[in-house]
């Protein structure tokens, strides 16, 4: 591996990320999958970085799941997205930050389509106007929430309580980064580092002391794939995808996986359990699984947030091995203690405090 070559590519793929006044839109599914993540993002942005982040209660699903499952027609999707833009415009924001990778990909795709086919944009504006009476401005800056954390990775590192370093050995933790397919595969220029060698998560990990693993199946889908998972009979394909990834990363002995997509941590996490149930196979060291984190969770851990407040007890593959390696100060007995959880999140569970 020639690092200079990678750096050259990373330099080629840099994007503009707004530095304040974000209009944040949540993911449909993340709050169920890893409920602490979005809350942690808001806390980091507002409390640690002192940035303005706005959320709107009328924001809806972008219909990306329906769109990618061939259920919702593209024009409908575009009109729904136009409404999101209209609400943002009404709120006086222009820096759109979706929490969901698919939303990010969809917004990017729609903006690009409108750029190349202005008549479509015109038609959608008309449809939105007819349906809701709303008008909109296109976002001035579109960045995924992980782009924003990437932008402030150094600031976070400066405030960090822990480093992604094995406390006992002093070695950096070996981290697998998994990027959601819709982040840059469709529009490589819209992702930090492009599609082949994405840097958005790698940049965070490097900054926070870890070491990124480049394994052969890094490009492979986590297995969510929408249609593959939604129909039960197809789930065999979904899990086969994840398995292929695990088998490919296993020889590198990763300590953890970091992701930036709603579906990926879900599937990489839960399928490890299912594979173990089906085949009795685990891919981590000492007969354990490989803990899977969202980038917000990792940022929260680095900043010294309580693991249980971050929602790590919601992971099916236990996170404790990583916590122990980093040397996080946590109380194992409080893992399922419901009482401590609201103390962290009640403020940020509300919109626009």
């Amino acid at each position: 591996m020639i690092l200079e070559g990678k750096k050259a590519i990373w330099n080629d793929y840099q994007k503009e990320i707004a530095d304040d006044k974000y209009y944040y839109v949540r993911s449909c599914v993340r709050q169920n999958f890893f409920p602490g993540s979005e809350t942690a993002f808001l806390k980091i942005m507002r409390e640690e970085l002192k940035k303005e982040v706005y959320e709107h209660p009328c924001h809806t699903s972008c219909t990306g799941i329906g769109y990618h499952s061939d259920i919702v027609p593209v024009e409908t999707t575009m009109t729904v997205v136009a409404r999101q833009f209209a609400i943002m415009t009404e709120a006086g924001y222009e820096n759109l930050v979706p929490s969901c990778i698919t939303s990010f990909g969809l917004y990017t795709e729609i903006l690009d389509t409108w750029h190349h086919f202005p008549e479509v944009e015109k038609k959608i504006r008309l449809q939105l106007k007819k349906a809701t009476g709303r008008e909109f401005k296109k976002p001035k800056n579109l960045a995924h929430a992980s782009d924003v954390i990437y932008k402030f990775r150094k600031e976070i590192a400066a405030k960090a309580k822990y480093k992604l370093i094995n406390k006992k050995t002093g070695e950096p933790l070996k981290v697998v980064d998994h990027i959601g397919c819709h982040y840059a595969k469709m529009f490589p220029s819209k992702g930090v580092g492009g599609a082949e060698y994405p840097y958005v998560l790698a940049g965070m990990i490097e900054e926070w002391g870890g070491k990124i693993i480049d394994y052969p199946e890094r490009r492979h889908c986590c297995g969510f794939g929408f249609r593959q998972y939604l129909v039960q009979a197809n789930r065999g394909f979904s899990i086969a995808c994840s398995k292929e990834k695990f088998e490919s990363m296993e020889p590198f002995k990763p300590d953890m996986i970091i992701t930036n997509c709603p579906g990926c941590p879900m599937f990489l996490d839960r399928w490890q359990y299912v594979i173990n149930e089906m085949e009795g196979k685990r891919y981590g060291q000492n007969g354990e699984g490989i803990p899977v984190f969202t980038y917000e969770e990792v940022a929260g851990l680095v900043l010294g947030y309580d693991p249980w407040e971050l929602g790590l007890q919601m992971h099916q593959t236990d996170c404790e091995p990583v916590l122990d390696k980093i040397g996080v100060d946590y109380s194992p007995e409080d893992k399922y203690n419901l009482e401590i959880i609201p103390s962290f999140s009640e403020k940020h569970n509300l919109i626009n405090v």
Partner: protein, 114 residues
Amino acid sequence: MDKFGFTISAGRQIDYDSNNRRLAEYIFEKEPSFRLCIECGGCSATCTTANFTGFSLRELHILIKRGENDQVRQNLNKCMLCGKCTLVCPRGVNTRNIVVLAKNAFQKSDEYEI
């Protein structure tokens, strides 16, 4: 396992490195013209067997070369050895001998330990 209502799907990918290609090596050694195939498909087009069922000698050659021996074994015996393929082959591949060698190899051993 039943409790999930699905199992882990087997991939269709040819894993070249873990496949056993002794059969191919054996045929390369005994019938060097095996190397000369340019995959034109002339053999499959004229094939007597292919007139009746799904059988492609061209594909069979590829599968032997890749070490996909199970698939080879499943299809090999459909060949009637009539020899039309040898006649139409533009590269002079001794197609019949390849089939005969593969048959012999399978008869010698199930594990293609030739």
